[in-house]
């Protein structure tokens, strides 16, 4: 397994280089201008000077290699320095956002907690909802519970979050006044009261996203459970005189979770990516909102870096999913 992992990681390097170059070209060749968002009162000569100072006018390949060198060498060293306090970070330039003129990594680090809090919680909530939903739906296939569960899943899956999000705000924030409509990113949980405040502000975005995640995962689990419920080994388990709960939760669920865990692992990068629309609706200024604003304002370094980190995460989590498969399913061995 170790050699397999190492081989996969080495193979990932050319993949990621290729991805980074493609992202770079796409971002670079699309018509975007970091000064486009400025008021028209700012004259063209000044705009040109701004572009010049941002290095937008350098040749594309020069920009790419500058970025790549910073991304794979300087920035990781800065991360290490931040985390450990060792003086390893090199002097000199970093990847600078056009909008804020500050290091892109700092922006990402600043926004990660919000995204992990909201999107991560919603993912966990989604899984927690999906497990019983999928299990019972499959076990009682075509029952009323299953039909209702299927209906809710379809709704959760097909109604876009910008609709459910605004609907939640109108109902729970405007009409009922239970929850705030604007997420306070500076809020810190220090005691019970502040925890309640955090709970109130997080509940709507978490439910909106959680519903979506739950729909997806519960469908996978239901299908996988149905596959397994008709297998002979389930009959064997029943013939052993096992409790029905043990039959379903140990024998069937354990086997059904193999593909589902893979799906869950593969979707983890999306948690880091945030949920662009939901973050925008609830003003949870996380990674998703960072990305969308960067796209809107032609902030190439941010778009480039965030996309590249996603690419790394996706490659990494596909590997993790594959390894998990090997751990969960004794029939699969990587040698």
């Amino acid at each position: 397994m170790l050699t397999y992992t190492i081989r996969r990681l080495i193979l990932a390097i050319p993949t990621l280089l290729f991805i980074s170059f493609i992202i770079f070209l796409i971002v670079k060749l699309s018509p975007s201008d970091p000064t486009a968002g400025l008021p028209l009162t700012i004259p063209p000569e000044v705009r040109e000077q701004i572009r010049e100072s941002l290095g937008v006018n350098d040749p594309v390949l020069v920009q790419y290699f500058k970025w790549l060198k910073l991304m794979v060498w300087d920035e990781p060293l800065h991360l290490i320095e931040n985390a450990t306090g060792w003086q390893v970070a090199p002097e000199g330039p970093r990847i600078i956002s056009y909008q804020t003129r500050s290091p892109v990594m700092e922006l990402i680090i600043q926004r990660l907690p919000q995204t992990l809090w909201v999107v991560g919680t919603s993912y966990i909530v989604g899984i927690l909802i999906a497990l019983p939903l999928g299990i019972i739906s499959a076990y009682r296939q075509y029952s009323v519970f299953d039909q209702v569960g299927t209906f809710i899943s379809m709704v959760g899956f097909s109604v876009p979050t910008f609709f459910t999000g605004v609907l939640f705000i109108v109902i729970f924030a405007v009409n009922l006044g239970w929850f705030p409509s604007v997420y306070d990113t500076t809020h810190e949980v220090t005691d019970w009261d502040s925890f309640v405040v955090q709970l109130k502000q997080i509940i709507m975005p978490v439910m909106v996203l959680g519903l979506y995640n739950a729909s997806q995962i519960s469908r996978y689990l239901r299908a996988s459970m149905l596959d397994n419920l008709n297998q002979d080994y389930v009959r064997t388990a029943r013939a052993k005189g096992l409790n029905e709960r043990v039959v379903v939760l140990v024998h069937v669920l354990k086997n059904s979770m193999i593909p589902v865990v893979t799906v869950i692992a593969l979707n983890v990068p999306a948690v880091f990516g945030g949920a662009i629309i939901t973050e925008q609706v609830f003003k949870v200024n996380g990674i998703g909102q960072l990305l969308i604003i960067a796209i809107q304002s032609g902030d190439v370094p941010v778009v480039q870096t965030v996309s590249f980190i996603f690419a790394v995460l996706i490659v990494l989590f596909s590997l993790i999913a594959d390894l998990l498969y090997g751990v969960l399913d004794p029939r699969i061995r990587y040698d």
Partner: protein, 345 residues
């Protein structure tokens, strides 16, 4: 050899029905039923092997599963050692489980792929006994020895074994709780021919050793002839003929049994070619929509007008021989009336 007349009845099945609902339409209402097992009655005597034969899809596997109540039977009664299984509440059923076990057709599919051999064999011990870990492991090794598996393999997963070895695991697992009655559902159908004999011999040895009673389900008539003491023939959800092996094989009564046996290859090619083979015309009707009258009337070479009207009763036409056919109602009309109840002879 087994003597039916003196042995005690271990399993009594009466008018067992297993209908699967057919759902259709928007609301998935029940619009019909697949009559997989439709009124089956037989007894199995302690220590004997009852062979259950029939074509694919005739309901013999369903029958075997229903007997162990791996399905919820639609109606009928199943008694094991005098205790009712068909309607037993769940807890009681669970206590009865150790007495009756099953060996499945596909050893690969019937073993949980995420459990080791020791886990698979040991699980029923954990569930039903209070053995210590050490005792349990001893018992597992003992069982592995009994079925001829190397003890070193205890911590391996099922996929690491060959088909024959897997079936041995399945058998060891079935034996774990000292059952009296084992349903062998086509236990050799998925195995290579060279392995089949080994497994069948193992089953026979174990029967002698532990005094087991088998319901041996198979479509392989030669194998049944080898292992079974008595044989029941199923067609389209019903048992059409039941009798002691040699009598049944030598002189089948039911036209379907006759046709089935004529298809068995003879070791001697000349006699095989010259044998008066009965080729059945047409297909087996759908169990969701069986024909009126005798189930076999659509294909029977000896069909009569009455066969299309009235379903023949299953009854004892000679001592120990049961058949469901109008041919024998003409010769023995006086026995009509107690047909569905095989009486003690």
């Amino acid at each position: 050899m087994f003597d039916a007349k003196t042995a005690k009845k271990l399993v009594e099945v009466r008018d067992l029905k297993m209908h699967f609902p057919i759902r259709s339409g928007l609301l998935r209402r029940v619009t019909g039923a697949v009559k997989a097992v439709d009124g089956v009655s037989f007894d199995i005597f302690e220590g004997e092997t009852l062979g259950l034969v029939g074509e694919s899809g005739c309901g013999k596997s369903t029958c075997g599963r229903a007997v162990l109540r791996l399905y919820e039977p639609t109606s009928g009664s199943i008694k094991l050692d005098g205790e009712e299984i068909a309607t037993a509440p769940f807890d009681k059923l669970r206590r009865l489980r150790p007495k009756m076990q099953m060996v499945f057709q596909d050893p690969q599919a019937s073993l949980n792929p995420r459990m080791t051999v020791a886990g698979i064999i040991g699980e029923p011990l954990m569930e039903h006994t209070k053995l210590s870990e050490k005792e349990r492991l001893d018992r597992i090794y003992q069982l592995m020895d009994a079925v001829g598996l190397n003890r070193d393999f205890a911590n391996r997963y099922p996929h690491e074994f060959s088909g024959g070895q897997r079936q041995r695991i399945g058998i060891a697992r079935a034996l774990a709780l000292n059952p009296k009655f084992i349903v062998c559902d086509e236990p050799i159908a998925a195995l290579d021919v060279s392995i089949q004999a080994q497994v069948v011999n193992l089953l026979e040895e174990l029967q002698d050793e532990f005094g087991l009673t088998y319901l041996f389900i198979s479509h392989d008539l030669s194998m049944v002839r080898h292992i079974a003491d008595r044989v029941a023939v199923m067609y389209l959800g019903k048992v059409v003929e039941l009798g002691a092996r040699d009598v049944l094989y030598d002189a089948p009564l039911h036209p379907y049994t006759e046709a089935l046996l004529s298809a068995v290859p003879e070791p001697d090619p000349v006699s095989h070619d010259e044998a008066n083979r009965i080729i059945l015309q047409g297909d087996v009707p759908s169990p969701a929509n069986p024909p009126q009258g005798c189930n076999f009337c659509t294909r029977c070479p000896k069909v009569m007008a009455i066969c299309r009207q009235i379903d023949p009763e299953f009854r004892e036409v000679k001592p120990g021989r049961f058949v469901a056919c109008h041919l024998y109602n003409e010769t023995r009309p006086e026995t009509a009336g107690n047909a569905a109840q095989p009486t003690e002879a």
